[in-house]
């Protein structure tokens, strides 16, 4: 390993100037639970690490009923999990973030890092997608917004350009009678990477039975986490009857385009995409009805 420079800038400007022009040789260090392993195992040849956790803007964590959630890119999953408004309004997002790794990993890992790492199995990303989250990024040319649904572009690839930093994720406020849920399948109860996962966010009519709008996404079954608009459409207008749930499950199965690996076969993953969509939809509906 070549010598490494390390800095922990305390302002955004300083961080952006360190990153501008540094190219692939500079690694943004958030919780480090992906980056440090990739660096040590030689998958990332870094000459420089820039620790972003001391930048105030990246530590924002706020909820406002009018503008929604602001989740700074450097906020750990443990801190997010302790933030009561996030648990109340976005239980699916919080449960997906809390599935990432062990207690020790939770203390460090961030939702921002989960997004930027670009894994097809990243647990929190489906939740961000179904909630219509928007990523605020900054580079030397200024700030721009990238919808969470467009953030990942392939395995390990994102829409971030060289020198750009993810600042925060914004989740719009939930309409009345709304909730969300995330489920994944892993062979053990804790500490594993998803074989498949599904997230559902929905809003009920005032009767608290009929689905007004629904969006669903699946992960670990395609090169990136995937929105499944057909599954959302199948649930919309329905009352979570078997026919609607079956149609949503079929839509997720049809959208899944997985590979076989040691975690599961193509057939098993397609089956899981359907089952998890169906079950997550029921959980989200029950939560929304109880709101």
């Amino acid at each position: 390993m070549k010598p490494l420079q390390f800095s922990a800038p305390t302002s955004l400007d300083e961080a952006l100037s360190l990153l501008s022009g540094a190219g692939d040789g500079a690694g943004v260090l958030s919780g480090g639970t992906d980056l440090i392993i990739q660096y040590r195992e030689g998958h990332r040849a870094l000459g420089q690490m820039v620790d972003i956790k001391k930048i105030p803007e990246l530590n924002v964590l706020e909820f406002d009923p009018a503008s929604g959630l602001r989740l700074g890119a450097a906020v750990s999953c443990a801190v997010l999990g302790e933030f009561a408004p996030a648990r109340r309004h976005f239980p699916g997002l919080v449960e997906s973030a809390e599935l990432i790794g062990s207690t020790q990993i939770q203390s460090r890992a961030t939702v921002g890092g989960n997004l930027c790492n670009g894994s097809p199995a990243a647990d929190s990303v489906c939740s961000l997608m179904v909630l219509n989250a928007v990523c605020i990024v900054a580079g030397s040319g200024g700030k721009r917004e990238i919808p969470a649904v467009e953030f990942m572009t392939g395995p390990g690839r994102t829409a971030l350009q060289a020198g750009e930093l993810l600042l925060e994720i914004r989740v719009p406020p939930p309409p009345p009678n709304s909730s969300d849920a995330y489920l994944r399948f892993i062979p053990r109860n804790e500490m594993d990477i998803a074989v498949a996962g599904a997230a559902v966010a929905l809003t009920l009519e005032d009767d608290k039975r009929t689905v007004k709008t629904a969006s669903t996404a699946i992960c670990a079954v395609a090169p990136t986490p995937l929105m499944v608009p057909e599954a959302g459409a199948a649930l919309t207008g329905a009352q979570m009857d078997d026919a609607a749930l079956d149609a949503a499950a079929r839509a997720s199965e049809a959208a899944a385009n997985p590979i076989s690996d040691m975690r599961g076969t193509v057939e098993f993953r397609i089956h899981l995409a359907g089952v998890l969509t169906r079950r997550a939809a029921v959980i989200a509906k029950n939560r929304a009805a109880a709101n």
Binding site: L4, I36, I37, G101, S102, Q104, M191
Partner: protein, 163 residues
């Protein structure tokens, strides 16, 4: 930015301010063991899977193999060496001995640090809560039951002595 590739890292370790020279490539685990001579913290995997390297950093339990030494600048670190009060073992340490919650002992420092963090947050964890909290600590010897028993027994003792 400093162009240096090593630095002096000053951190509070078990309450004492310690400064060590650390290469920027070094992990906090290597800094503790090799530079500060605190070899109680163990290396198992270096990939965040086993928890043998668990330490407290600014009040939260972390895998020290997945922390860069340079990140520890100004941090408060607590290791297994800080758990006993002088010659008096912490209740968790005594209960680990009583319940035979260790065989080879490689995992023990990590379990102690992680279990202590659990009991500080939740003085009366259920069996399931204890198992989930400790899921990032692996043991290849005991089969876990003795460890869970020791942690919950220590919790019970700590609750009754706190009354």
């Amino acid at each position: 930015m400093s162009m240096d590739t090593k630095r002096i890292v000053t951190a509070s370790i078990n309450g004492a301010e310690i400064s060590v020279m650390a290469d920027n490539r070094m992990s906090l685990l290597e800094m503790l063991r090799d530079a500060a001579g605190l070899t109680g913290t163990k290396e198992g995997c270096m990939t965040g899977d086993c928890g043998a390297c668990s330490v407290m950093m600014n009040g939260r339990v972390v895998d020290s193999c997945l922390v860069m030494a340079a990140e520890a600048e100004g941090a408060e670190i607590e290791t297994v060496e800080g758990i006993a009060d002088g010659k008096n073992l912490h209740p968790l340490q005594r209960k680990f001995l009583e319940h035979a919650a260790l065989q080879c002992g490689i995992c023990t420092p990590g379990f102690l640090v992680s279990a202590k963090a659990l009991l500080e947050k939740n003085p009366d964890p259920s069996d399931a809560e204890t198992r989930y909290w400790l899921a990032g600590n692996l043991c290849r010897c005991t089969g876990y039951q003795q460890i869970i028993d020791a942690v919950r027994d220590a919790a019970a003792e700590m609750r009754s002595s706190a009354k």
